[in-house]
């Protein structure tokens, strides 16, 4: 085996993942909180008010990073579900299933902050337009995956069924992303572009990107903490899990 496959197998082994995840999670949480403090200081204090929306636009610093996360996490969940279905890797199964509640939380934040932004700017909390509806469907997909996973008694069968649903639902991800281009919608188009210049001033852009990084780190921190629980539960019969439960070392 070459070095990479060896590393993959080692990190993919439940006790090693349990230990490394436990070591990383607190640092990821701390880094996420520091970045949030920096990003929100930049967004709420340093960035100037918008010429059209005045201070209401400041919702962007949580709405947009959370919307990006709702799509990123779905993609991450579907990729892991695919790996789990094809190669039956236990860690991938767990990662796919643990990302669902975190993704659902970010999607719910996106919808709620969108409504809170829509009311003063558009004059309505909600409208059945393409972007909003597709994002709502994304929330239902997350809830469907969570529900299916908990409806089946056998954990591994449950993960396979829910993983399949996650994989089918991935068709919604490009629909959310391109909805503002494909249909005439009330929702504005993308302001931040990977290719070409962004339609946003740098004083507003950098807090947005810092918040995007912060939410990403938060996701991985939360993912590790949740995956550790599932690992102990799934491997309850194994020696390392017993040691963890009895407080004799961290398992590896």
């Amino acid at each position: 085996m070459n070095k990479l496959t060896l590393w993959f197998h080692k990190f993919g082994s439940p006790p090693v993942f349990h230990r490394i995840g436990g070591l990383l999670a607190p640092w990821l949480f701390a880094a996420a909180l520091v970045l949030m403090a920096v990003g929100l200081y930049g967004g709420l204090v340093l960035a100037p008010a918008d010429y059209q929306q005045s201070d209401a636009y400041r919702i962007i610093f949580i709405h947009v990073p959370c919307a990006w996360m709702s799509l990123f996490i779905y993609f991450f969940m579907a990729a892991n579900a695919f790996i789990a279905l094809v190669w039956r890797i236990k860690i991938s199964e767990i990662l796919a299933m643990t990302s669902a509640p975190i993704g659902a939380a970010f999607t719910a934040i996106t919808l709620a902050t969108g409504a809170l932004w829509g009311k003063p700017m558009w004059g309505t909390w909600w409208t059945w337009d393409a972007r909003l509806t597709a994002e709502l469907v994304l929330l239902f997909l997350y809830l469907g995956v969570i529900g299916l996973y908990h409806a089946i008694e056998d954990r591994r069968q449950a993960a396979r069924a829910a993983g399949f649903l996650a994989l089918v639902g991935v068709v919604n991800v490009p629909i959310v992303h391109f909805s503002v281009k494909w249909w005439n919608t009330l929702h504005q188009g993308s302001t931040v572009r990977l290719l070409g210049p962004s339609a946003i001033d740098s004083s507003m852009l950098w807090p947005l990107l810092v918040m995007a990084l912060a939410t990403k780190l938060w996701f991985f921190a939360s993912l590790f903490v949740r995956a550790r629980n599932d690992l102990v539960e799934l491997e309850a019969g194994k020696d390392w899990a017993r040691k963890v439960a009895l407080g004799e070392g961290d398992g590896a």
């Binding site: 204090v45 209401a56 939380a105 102990v232 009895l246």
Partner: protein
């Protein structure tokens, strides 16, 4: 300071958005920690029961 809180008259919307964000992150932070306690306690209980069983019926 009150200017900052007023957010140009949009204070309610802006601060409600930030409240939603932090409340959901707080739940996301606490929920798995409560679950961990439950999972470990359950596993300890199972281990104790197994131990008692082997003490009552020692294998020959």
């Amino acid at each position: 300071m009150s200017d900052f809180l007023a957010m140009g008259g949009y204070g309610v919307y802006v601060w409600a958005s930030y409240a939603v964000f932090f409340v959901l992150l707080a739940i996301d932070f606490i929920a798995p920690r409560l679950r961990r306690r439950r999972v470990l306690a359950e596993l300890r209980g199972r281990l104790r029961r197994q131990q008692r069983k082997t003490q009552e019926n020692p294998s020959p």
